[in-house]
């Protein structure tokens, strides 16, 4: 199993969620994060004084899925989260060795979904 973690623009969350649901991925966990990257620190003016915005609000979406769904998931996220502008975000894929459903004790593939 793999964990697919996508850092996306917050207002794209609904689109990405719908895209994933469409290909049958329903389990997901979301966190509010702040990011720094190409789209980086800028300086703004407030009442004649400067301030730096170093980190930009982003949403982190994590899904743990069977390895064979990774390509479909990446594709779905990419299409839905793309605005073509800098700061659209990244997708990171890593391995998950074991999954347990707390309620039932089911493990791995059975515990997903």
């Amino acid at each position: 199993m793999k964990k697919v973690t996508a850092i996306i623009k917050p207002f794209k969350l609904d689109d990405v969620k719908d895209a994933l649901l469409e290909i049958g991925i329903t389990g997901m966990t979301v966190a509010e994060v702040r990011g720094h990257g190409r789209q980086k620190g800028h300086t703004e003016l407030y009442r004649g004084a400067e301030y730096n915005v170093d980190f930009i609000p982003k949403t982190e979406l994590s899904i743990v899925i069977p390895s064979d769904q990774v390509d479909a998931a990446v594709e779905a996220i990419r299409t839905a989260a793309n605005t073509g502008k800098i700061g659209d975000g990244k997708i990171f894929i890593s391995a998950i060795e074991r999954v347990v459903r707390i309620r039932t004790g089911e493990e791995n593939e059975e515990a997903l979904s």
């Binding site: 207002f11 407030y46 730096n52 915005v53 170093d54 980190f55």
Partner: protein
């Protein structure tokens, strides 16, 4: 002893209390809108107040009452029979009513209206449309009251402005909301309403409390001078407020928004007849207003598909109209009231106000829409009026990370 000083004192307190109500309007709106539009709600309400003052000072007050203040101070202090500059504090008191017009409308058009077009509309309404009807009813202009009196046996009685202020504001908002269209995402493609949740119930409640307390200045000081102050007006305002809030509590199933607005609905409805109806009549008027607000609000959003964010059409328009008519029912001696009113005068007077408001609203907001545009761009609306118009959010330290 000279009584003018006391009357100035009396109206200063009244004016200060109704001025405070504008803070109430602001916070009721801040609490009801989404967080990204809180700053704009605050700035829009105080700005509207500012421009209303200028418009009413230079134009509106003389449209309504034929009085202006373009004379040296020594003369100003003695306009009319009064001394101590009574007419100037009287202006202040009446201005706080006039400025309520944009403050009322604000709750309907919030979260999507552009800044300066909104200011323009406020100026036109406070300089011309409101004072026209105000003068018709409260200054006897154009013989309208005389005609009602000779036709239906009494003048149109609107002691503190259920119709002159509230129905006028509420139905002007109809035109504004209609011309603006609904907030993005408010209705689904197949026509169902999506809830857009309020940001902050404590601020909403704070706004309501400020309005409730200030309202006793609105109503009691409408007597115009201390000698005329009436305990009946005070108790009736109280009982209508209570009737409204308890009825909305039950009809709205404990929803905090309905309860706190229900109190206001009762107060809107009692303005017209507060000096003539019996306290038990006032309680009844409030109950009807409270229930009416709850159902009117839902009707307007689901059936009429008007995105009236705070529900100002049912709150000020609906309850105001009901108040104008109710004074003709509960004010009669048959209902234990003080009499001196007729149902037909109340009905005709109220509907005249409503008609002027609907026509005026469609006209003014329609004209601005076609000439300069009324509405924020889709992107600005999404981002929120705070960042789009004011470059700052409601909690800058937290939101804009320094």
């Amino acid at each position: 002893m000279n009584s003018s000083g006391f009357d100035v004192f009396f109206l200063t307190m009244g004016a200060a209390m109704v001025l405070a109500m504008h803070a109430g309007f602001a916070f009721l709106e801040v609490g009801t809108v989404r967080k990204k539009n809180q700053v704009n709600a605050l700035v829009r309400v105080i700005t509207d107040f500012g421009f209303s003052t200028v418009a009413y000072f230079f134009i509106g007050f003389s449209v309504a009452y034929g009085i202006n203040f373009f004379a040296p101070v020594s003369e100003l202090n003695n306009i009319g029979d009064a001394s101590n500059g009574y007419e100037m504090v009287h202006f202040f008191f009446l201005l706080t009513f006039a400025a309520a017009i944009p403050a009322i409308i604000s709750g309907g058009v919030t979260e999507r209206i552009r800044f300066w077009p909104n200011v323009l509309a406020s100026v036109i309404l406070v300089a011309l449309i409101y004072p026209f009807y105000e003068g018709l009813i409260w200054a006897g202009n154009f013989g309208f009251q005389a005609w009602l009196n000779s036709t239906f046996g009494a003048e149109f009685h609107d002691f503190a402005g259920s119709v002159v202020v509230h129905a006028m504001g509420g139905f002007l908002a109809f035109g504004a909301v209609f011309m603006l269209g609904a907030r993005k995402g408010r209705y689904t493609r197949d026509g169902r309403v999506n809830a857009i949740l309020p940001s902050n119930i404590p601020f909403l409640a704070l706004g309501s409390w400020i309005l409730c307390v200030g309202w006793f200045g609105f109503n009691v000081m409408s007597a115009g001078n201390a000698e005329g102050a009436s305990g009946l007006v005070a108790i009736n305002s109280l009982l209508a407020m209570v009737g409204g809030l308890l009825a909305a509590l039950v009809a709205g199933r404990n929803d905090p928004g309905f309860v706190h607005n229900g109190a206001l609905a009762g107060l809107v409805a009692i303005c017209a007849g507060s000096d003539i109806v019996h306290p038990v009549g006032a309680l009844s008027i409030g109950i009807v207003a409270g229930v009416g607000f709850v159902y009117g609000f839902q009707l307007i959003q689901t059936r009429l598909k008007l995105d009236d964010v705070l529900g100002v059409i049912p709150l000020h328009g609906g309850a105001g109209l009901w108040g104008g008519i109710a004074a003709g029912i509960f004010g009669s001696t048959a209902m234990g009231g003080a009499g001196g009113v007729t149902f037909m005068s109340q009905l005709v007077g109220s509907l005249t106000g409503v008609s002027i408001a609907i026509a005026g609203g469609l006209l003014v907001y329609g004209a601005i829409k076609t000439t300069m545009g009324l509405r924020l761009s889709e992107e600005d609306e999404y981002m929120g009026a705070d960042l789009a118009i004011h470059q700052v959010s409601a909690n800058p330290e937290e939101d804009m990370g320094a």
